[in-house]
Amino acid sequence: MNPLPLVIALARRHAVVCTAFVVLIALTIGIGAAITAQERALRSGSARASDRFDLIVAAPGSQTDMLLRVVFLQPGSVELLAGEPLQRAMAEQRAAFVAPIGFGDSYRGDPVVGTIAALVEHLSGGALAEGRMFSALTEVVVGARSPLAIGDTFQATHGLPNELAETEHAQELVVVGRMTETGTPWDRAVLTPIELTWEVHGLGSGHGEGAYAIGPPFDLATMPGVPALVMKPESLAAAYGLRSQYRTTETMAFFPAEVLVQLYALLGDARVVMSALAIATAVLLVAAILAGILILMRLYRQRFAVLRALGAPRIYVFAVAWTFSFGLIGLGSLLGLGAAAALSGTVSAILSNASGIALSARLGGTEILLALALAAIGAVLALIPAALLYRRPVVEALRGT
């Protein structure tokens, strides 16, 4: 038994309608799958982005806000960590380094961040991609995707991107190095010695009256306050120890990953709803398309009756109708995965550009499951037109009534 010749004949007869059906299903699956894949990519991308910011210590406040400031370099105001708590943290012995972070300036919309060489090296995976580390106040290292090249000179602007009152600073800065890709907004940033941040804002040198140097040790007694510190604990045990040690009334300390996990948990329900909606939309579409198929099948009642008069068994008519319906749905689902793959790449690229977080959405089990679920539902729903034809009395259809 081979229903294909007739199925193909039917599809050719209604090539436009059938193509429209397949495209609609493919797009529905494609968009649904692309969205779920994107959501997953966003989670893994943001988790990867926060990986190298081992422990963040700051003045008490919102951990989420602080995470957005430090890891994702989002603008906003934060309390400064200053005075005795800052001195204590800066002197921490169980950390490989304690890096102060300073914000406030920008260059052509990209953030200028003040910090120390150890953090820049650490974020860059141990070594720079090009050039060398900054070693003077006006030397900077740029992120992997910064438009600046080694040797370029420029002036930073006071004020973060999007802030209104921007004024240029007088210092001319020169690019001496470029980091490797981190997959974070730091890839677009300009990294300067923290001393420059303090200097241009008139906060002192950080190394005592009249003393100039780049990087630690700082003069803790006169060191200005900073929005946050990134600590690299010496061991896993030290990490947990430090976290609890700096969870006091004067400081907060957290692992970026734990904050992200909380955020994901919040989004968890939304994710389930999203997948459910994607399936529901697809099923509704398939139901609508089956209604169309039912109408087509009514047109062909007589054709099918003729087959019976030629000796075709009922099951053959059933098989033709089912294969036709399921063929459209199955083909649509399959092409939908292809559409999803294409869409994911494009959407990822757009989102990566907008957020600075490296995203690579890949189709995974969820998306394949979505397509399979729809195909399975389609296989069941396709039984309806098939069963209706199966039950039709032959002679009446043969007479064309």
Binding site: P5, R308, G311, A312, P313, I315, V395
Partner: protein, 220 residues
């Protein structure tokens, strides 16, 4: 041999009652002969052919093919029986317009196991003088289309041919050719049953019955 005996079949009418569409004591078309049934429209010709083809169980009576009482077969068996024993030809051909003449003629092979069906279909089309080179049946004349339908009916070499007004949508010349084809089929030993009111066809029949309100009479 196909024999219908003591057949009664009534349909419900619009008024909620029923009317007798068929009341036939015995109908036994002979192999090697053309048996024609004429009668006005609505007299029951198609209904009789459907009953003979095992498509429409009568309310009373039996249809026997040799020893087999066909309405006693389960449906699937009856489908298989029809496939092997009956070739059905329609007034409007009922071909699949999207398929080539050859694909149309070999269509029954898509629902029954049949080796060499394509070659046989090609040979039949050749014998019937249908140009198989044409890709679409829409490029064939009406007479040629009917011959494609005949080739399709003959694919499994059935001993019985049932033709329901096969010349009604053909012109004179094509009807004459069709008559010759039917004659040839009868000469090969097939039982040919013909429902028609076309004089060209009726003139070629060996036996001629008239149906009137479901009752069979010998024609003058």
């Amino acid at each position: 041999m196909l024999v219908a005996e003591d057949i009664a079949l009534a349909f419900a009418d619009a008024g909620g009652g029923s009317f007798t569409a068929l009341d036939v004591a015995r109908f036994a078309p002979e192999p090697g002969r053309i048996t024609a049934i004429s009668g006005p429209s609505g007299s029951g010709k198609s209904t009789l052919l459907y009953v003979l083809a095992g498509l429409l169980p009568p309310q009373r009576g039996t249809v026997r093919d040799d020893a087999v009482s066909i309405y006693q077969l389960r449906e699937g068996r009856r489908d298989a029986w029809r496939r092997r024993r009956i070739g059905f030809i329609f007034q409007d051909f009922h071909l699949v317009p999207e398929l080539s003449p050859l694909a149309n003629a070999s269509l029954p092979a898509t629902f029954a196991r049949a080796g060499g069906a394509r070659q046989r279909a090609a040979a039949l089309l050749g014998e019937l003088g249908v140009p198989t080179a044409r890709r679409s049946i829409e490029l064939l004349s009406r007479g040629e289309r009917q011959r494609v339908a005949i080739a399709r009916a003959l694919l499994f070499d059935p001993p019985v041919i049932l033709a329901d007004e096969p010349s009604a949508s053909l012109d004179r010349a094509a009807a004459t050719e069709l008559t010759a084809v039917l004659r040839r089929l009868a000469k090969d030993g097939r039982t040919v049953v013909l429902a028609s009111h076309d004089d060209t066809l009726l003139a070629a029949a060996d036996r001629h019955w008239r149906l009137d309100h479901g009752k069979l009479r010998t024609a003058a």
